[in-house]
């Protein structure tokens, strides 16, 4: 009986050890999963902005080419700038000159190219000889050239049941999207939020003021 009890006890202890081991395994497994998820989320989050920095930071001048006014997009770019300027440390201010820190805004046409491309942003750095040359989005750059495509906006497409060109709020979203690229904001690939202008495609600007999601991403990159 005693033996049996001891045996029971040893089984209990053995089971207990198994349980403890099992619990430890569970804890370790859970921790590993949590750590992995955290790493994934963290890397995914960091993928929402480009690495490197912008010389002279995010308080910077922007120059509107004459194409912006002549095609009637001055207000569109104003809203694109205001989206990021309001409630963040970004201060993109309009200037009638250019230097090595000035972003350049243009309105273009596709010239026989792809009409599904709504806007483009290309970063530039300055060489030792003073030439502005292409930069990689993930390296430190001096300024960006931002282009919106008028004929891509004008092209009629099916939007649900209506066949029409893009409307003003949809074009404003593309403007804010491209201005976002000029501030090293990347695409919202992980789709962790729909509350952002950095998603691809045609939809209304969510708000004329920066959304919580975009503000958080901006702050992660540039601070308060």
């Amino acid at each position: 009986m005693k033996k049996a009890r001891n045996a029971d006890l040893s089984i209990f202890i053995f089971r207990g050890n198994l349980m403890i081991k099992s619990n430890i395994k569970k804890v370790i497994a859970t921790s590993l999963i949590a750590l992995t998820s955290l790493t994934f989320i963290s890397s995914a989050a960091s993928a929402e902005t480009f690495t490197g920095t912008i010389k002279d930071g995010v308080n910077r001048p922007v120059w509107y080419s004459s194409s912006v006014g002549s095609y009637g997009y001055t207000g569109t770019f104003d809203i694109g700038r205001a989206y990021w300027n309001v409630d963040t440390k970004a201060n993109l201010w309009k200037w009638d000159q250019v230097n090595n820190s000035t972003d350049r805004y243009y309105i273009g046409t596709s010239d026989g190219g792809d009409l599904d491309t709504l806007g483009k942003t290309t970063p530039y750095k300055i060489t030792s000889t003073g030439a502005a040359v292409l930069a990689d989005p993930n390296e430190t750059w001096n300024f960006s050239v931002v282009t919106l495509y008028h004929d891509a906006f004008q092209k009629k497409r099916w939007h649900g049941l209506t066949y029409r060109a893009m409307d003003a709020d949809e074009i404003r979203k593309t403007s804010a999207h491209e201005v976002g690229h000029s501030l090293k904001m990347a695409h919202n690939v992980t789709m962790t939020s729909l509350d952002t202008v950095m998603r691809q495609g045609i939809y209304d600007i969510p708000s004329t003021k920066i959304t919580t999601y975009d503000k958080n991403e901006f702050v992660k990159k540039w601070g308060y």
Binding site: S65, G112, L118, T122, D136, E178
Partner: protein
């Protein structure tokens, strides 16, 4: 009296209107300058423009938006294709590409799907590829890719989802995710961040497209 007074006035008015219209058109003309064709060479550095484009999240929606789905191969190597780049300038005189793309003539080997039956007889089309060749402000020729798009090789067969443009050329629907190498996995490691961003989507699209047309693609995959 009528002829002496009103005729000259009418002529002046017509001429004035003409001058006004011309000056308005000139005023509205952006500072776009020249379309320059730069001769490409192998090993040119590649740079990327980021941007906003119309994308499709499913293979079905991509196919609905496409006029044509084909198996095709470029007729010529990249260096011998037509490269189109237009530039704009700034007050400092520096030039920046406004558009940079390549027109690639492809031979159609098989039509997998066509919206219009007349399209199913096409033997070749001209495809707009979102990668061009530019002369940068340091005088060096470079490739400029949109979103990390990589050009088709004339040594491979591709499944292409195509949308017809008004000028008769075709664009690749969904840009990076509407073009798939029939044999290989087409996410190129070269174009760092932009490709990584699209890599997961591309793999999913590729698997679904190849599964959908498995029977039709059999003769090209063996």
């Amino acid at each position: 009296m009528f002829k002496k007074v009103f005729m000259p006035l009418s002529i002046v008015a017509v001429l004035g209107a003409g001058v006004f219209t011309y000056s308005s058109l000139q005023h509205n003309k952006p500072e776009k300058t020249v379309a320059t064709s730069v001769k490409p060479s192998s090993g040119m550095p590649v740079y990327i423009s980021e941007g906003d484009y119309i994308s499709y999240s499913t293979v079905d929606s991509m196919e609905n938006a496409s006029d044509l789905v084909v198996v095709a191969t470029p007729k010529k190597p990249f260096e011998q294709r037509k490269h189109v780049t237009t530039y704009v300038s700034d007050p400092s005189g520096q030039k920046f590409p406004e558009n940079s793309y390549t027109l690639t003539d492809v031979s159609i080997k098989k039509v997998l799907s066509a919206k219009d039956s007349s399209l199913s007889k096409l033997k070749s089309v001209s495809v707009v590829e979102n990668i061009g060749v530019i002369k940068d402000n340091d005088g060096i020729n470079k490739k400029l890719s949109f979103e990390g798009y990589e050009e088709m090789s004339n040594k491979s067969d591709y499944i292409l989802y195509l949308t017809k443009n008004d000028n008769g050329t075709y664009s690749i629907t969904n840009i990076l995710n509407g073009k798939f190498d029939v044999k290989a996995h087409t996410v190129a490691p070269k174009l760092a961040e932009a490709q990584r961003e699209h890599a997961s989507d591309h793999t999913q699209f590729e698997q679904q497209v190849k599964a959908k047309f498995k029977k039709e693609l059999a003769e090209y995959t063996n």
